[in-house]
Point group: C2
Chain length 215, copies 2
DNA sequence: GTTACAAAGTAAACACTGTTCACTTTTTGA
DNA sequence: TCAAAAAGTGAACAGTGTTTACTTTGTAAC
């Protein structure tokens, strides 16, 4: 039964083997990007690192771009799960909203090169596939957060929740982008190194959220 | 006297000629980047476009990076002058502050590829030359704007002006970056195309600035 | 077990890239 | 006019992503 034609878990030894090689490619690529950025990733050096020929990579990925895109999708999926966890916690709304912004930025900064790479370059408007990516979905959470804030009577209800959510996303993305791009961004500020980023993110989230409240 | 050893305006015909070639290189590079992005710029195709050999480019610029860095510096200098103009206008403070944020974003969006390219990739912390660029100076204007807002009794004075300015810069940069990166960012929103961006920027600046006011 | 077929893997080539170097042409200043 | 400097170039080097024809390996059926 276990060696029957239709496997119970849909994975044959060959498929598992293939999956392992695929993963090793992805992991090696991730390591190289983390070290040297997206431009530092070379298919040839990547192949050498995992002891394959460059051409072998193309049995697993259609192009370098497809490979990198898969990493980006996984990265944003990870950010989403972390933001999601905050969203459904038992904390009061104001605390959740604050954490929501913070966690997005903090998770983005876990992989600065990947985060920056995901926003470098103008996206082709005719490429519809980009629209339904996890990147766009990150911002769906913000819509429901803003709507909830309006329903609870905290936020100004006269504004369009979607538009406001886009504005909030811009604020979060900007902080993540600048912190990732400029390692010295917080230099010359009060308090010590590990606290600096924490304190800044608190202030930033405070300012952004305060902008949403009714006056 | 005019043909004396030391020229009055410090430019000989040879220097002017050289400057013209230099400019033609820069302009061609700018056109190519505007069309195909930073990665789409090729020294060889650039040379072909202006009818020179690829090697000739290196008589004017040490490397491709130096060339695009000069374009970036000029671009941010242009943004700065526009923001500067707002800063010293005769409008009331609240209007100037609002315009300050708007103009930064609008000018950034004049060259989406260049703006995104200026923030792609993690900056080398040991490279001190990056710190004193026009990019960093854009944010000096925000510091004085925040300080003035505090002095006038509008903004919360208990906060560090520099830190707040960084937060505001992040909000502006985020909006510029997202709008440049995602041409569809404002799709699915009320009102028509030319007004959309205008309305969004107004809302965004409103939200950010409201976050700074005393409650 | 053998055989047929598909999958995995590769070496070599193609068409690019940025950059350098030896070399020629042109321009300049005395 | 003549040497020196500047401007410009062709060819090469080392690297890139990708494709193609080919070989090796593994699998499934007879």
């Amino acid at each position: 039964m276990a060696s029957d034609h239709a496997q119970t878990d849909e994975t044959s030894p060959a498929e598992r083997r293939r999956q392992r090689v695929r993963d090793s490619i992805l992991h090696a690529a991730e390591r190289m990007i983390a070290k040297e950025g997206e431009d530092g990733l070379s298919i040839r050096r990547l192949a050498e690192e995992i002891d394959y020929s460059p051409a072998a990579i193309y049995k697993y990925f259609g192009s370098k771009e497809e490979l990198v895109d898969e990493l980006k999708e996984a990265f944003f999926a990870r950010i989403l799960t972390h933001v999601d966890k905050v969203q459904y916690s038992e904390e009061p709304f104001e605390c959740r909203a604050h954490q929501c912004l913070r966690v997005y930025i903090e998770e983005a900064l876990e992989k600065p090169h990947q985060y920056l790479g995901a926003f470098s370059g103008v996206v082709d408007p005719t490429d519809s596939h980009e629209i339904e990516s996890n990147k766009a979905r990150a911002f769906d959470y913000l819509i429901s957060m803003v709507s909830e804030g309006q329903a609870l009577g905290h936020f100004d209800p006269s504004r369009d929740a979607v538009t406001v959510a886009k504005s909030v996303w811009a604020c979060c993305h900007g902080a993540a982008s600048l912190l990732a791009h400029l390692p010295h961004f917080l230099d010359g500020m009060p308090s010590d190194i590990p606290v600096k980023r924490d304190a800044f993110l608190d202030l930033h989230a405070d300012i952004v959220l305060r902008g949403l409240y009714k006056r």
